[in-house]
């Protein structure tokens, strides 16, 4: 796992995703992100290129349901 980001880096990350947070919420974000990093650090890595994730797109699932859904 890489070093924990500083508070300033967290503030920059937040701005990059459009979160302009008051100080109290920025502390929440820093604390919560530290916990998320713990989870991410345990993920297996070094996978084969062809390893498919668990959310493969099935086009048949997105056909019109009713006549009202069909637009000319």
């Amino acid at each position: 796992m890489t070093d924990a980001p500083t508070r300033e880096e967290i503030a920059l990350y937040a701005r990059n995703i459009g979160l302009t947070l008051p100080a109290a919420y920025l502390d929440e974000l820093a604390s919560a992100y530290a916990n998320v990093r713990i989870l991410i650090a345990t993920m297996p890595t070094g996978r084969p290129h062809g390893d498919e994730p668990a959310h493969i797109f099935d086009p048949a699932k997105f056909q019109p349901v009713s006549a009202a859904d069909v637009k000319a």
Binding site: L19, E28, A32, I40, M43, D51, P53, A54, K61
Partner: protein, 465 residues
């Protein structure tokens, strides 16, 4: 039957009496409404009671049945819905200040199915905010309490649903389960709750928590009642992209009481990773003995670690939650309860690569689950420890805390929680029964056989005005 006892009828018992015209849906509905009015201020299990609608639907059911049309076992049976199920013309808040004025235009798929079956809507049940963050005291309504002991938690997130069934406020309710939110409340409240196979029950009109792990499902007093409810709400829905087009068995017909030669797997190594209290272990082993006496075979099984299942799900969930709530977090973060906000705010910092790697991890873990399930008929383990005190939970603990439930959201397998006894404080123990994909019938069969062989369905919480 005395009117004072109507509220503890199971769905199956009430349905039989209604079909024989020995019980009026109007009287049954009135009994529940009286009980809710008298006692729910102690439990806060409802956030909305639809008394007028319920009376109207009960009168319509009674008129139809009297005229000779009986739609089936839910005709005239009262039920309630977790307040994340959208209800046409009825406020649906997800317990959140963000949805304080949300009145949907359309019912959920499950709500439409129950209405078509002639069931009677009593109201909407308390949940954790957006079925995720809680318990919270800074959201739209107070958290529900446990009817076995009001100082204890009914667990979550289908907390009001679990409490309402145990308290005799309704015989049926629907909840949702993304990491254990049907099974946890079923366990804490000593009732039966089923997370069906992913895709068996449509999530259309159920406010999402985490798309890839969300399941809709029933809670009731017995497995027989769950079978009746599942028969009604299961089925393909082209409006839910996760919905599976599979043939439905007769779930109630599977409840033979016979589990002879059933092969039960037990993931013993998980109890080293998440140790059981001595009393919970003892209740679990006693339950296995019941199944052995009924002719089942018990085998050890080995799965990937609980931590792998838990962490993969939480990485995916935090990213999906941020996707769902990102706009509100950017524009009105103060309207979230602190617990939910803490649990989702970092989701925006999960990189696309990390999300997709977590989805690859899920593939491995789901495959491993199905490989093990191919060697047994069902798997059994406790659902959770008996209910703890109802008190704020430090939100940072929720990221790394392990559970016995989340793995089956990752796998998508059907998973049932039933009551398997009571501890020395009178709080319920719980047994979880997990099945192969789309073999929900065998899960219910095992649960029903256990309920028939044990006395636990005879005990109810003692509530007084």
């Amino acid at each position: 039957m005395p009117a004072t006892d109507l509220h503890f009828l199971t769905i199956a018992e009430a349905a039989r009496l209604i079909a024989q015209r020995d019980l009026s849906p109007v009287d049954l509905t009135a009994a529940y409404l009286r009980r809710i009015e008298a006692l729910d201020s102690q439990l806060d299990s409802f956030v909305t009671v639809t008394a007028d609608l319920a009376r109207t639907q009960a009168r319509a059911a009674e008129a139809e049945i009297t005229a000779g049309t009986h739609r089936g076992p839910l005709h005239g049976i009262p039920y309630c819905l977790k307040d994340i199920y959208e209800t046409a013309g009825i406020r649906t808040t997800a317990m959140s200040k963000l949805l304080a004025d949300n009145v949907p235009a359309r019912d959920s798929f499950c709500g439409e199915k129950l209405a078509a079956a002639g069931a009677v809507l009593l109201g909407k049940n308390a949940t954790w905010e957006f079925a995720h963050g809680g318990p919270s005291w800074d959201v739209l309504f107070p958290p529900a309490r446990n009817p076995w002991n009001r100082d204890h938690s009914p667990a979550g997130s289908s907390s009001g649903s679990g409490a309402a069934i145990a308290a005799g406020f309704a015989p049926a309710t629907l909840g949702s389960d993304t990491g254990g939110s049907i099974r946890g409340p079923a366990a804490a409240n000593g009732i039966a709750g089923l997370k069906p196979t992913y895709g068996l029950v449509s999530r259309r009109g159920v406010i999402p928590n985490c798309f890839t792990h969300d399941h809709a499902g029933p809670l009731a007093w017995t497995c027989e009642d769950l079978a009746i409810l599942l028969q009604t709400i299961a089925g393909h829905d082209p409006e839910d992209p996760a919905s599976a087009a599979v043939p439905l068995p007769d779930y109630r017909a599977a409840l033979t009481g016979d589990v002879k030669a059933m092969v039960i797997g037990v993931p013993w190594a998980w109890f080293d990773e998440l140790p059981l209290s001595p009393s919970t272990r003892s209740a679990f082993e006693a339950s296995l003995s019941v199944f052995k006496d009924l002719g089942a075979e018990i085998r050890p099984v080995t799965l990937p670690s609980l931590q792998d299942y838990e962490y993969s799900k939480k990485i995916i969930a935090v990213a999906e939650l941020f996707t769902i709530h990102g706009h509100d977090l950017r524009t009105r973060p103060a309207l979230f309860g602190a617990s939910l906000r803490y649990r989702i705010i970092a989701g925006g910092l999960v990189r696309a690569e990390e999300y997709i790697q977590a989805m690859r991890w899920r593939t491995d873990l789901a495959r491993a689950m199905q490989n093990v399930m191919a060697t047994v008929d069902v798997m059994m383990l406790p659902t959770q420890e008996p209910a703890g005190k109802l008190e704020p939970v430090p939100p940072e603990t929720l990221f790394t805390k392990l559970s016995f439930t989340t793995a089956f959201n990752v796998g998508g397998n059907p998973a049932l929680s039933i009551c398997n006894g009571f501890n020395d404080q009178g709080l319920p123990f719980s047994l979880q029964i997990v099945g192969k994909l789309f073999d929900d019938a065998t899960v219910l069969q095992a649960g029903d056989a256990y309920e028939r062989a044990t006395p636990w369905r005879q005990r109810r919480p003692d509530l007084h005005a």
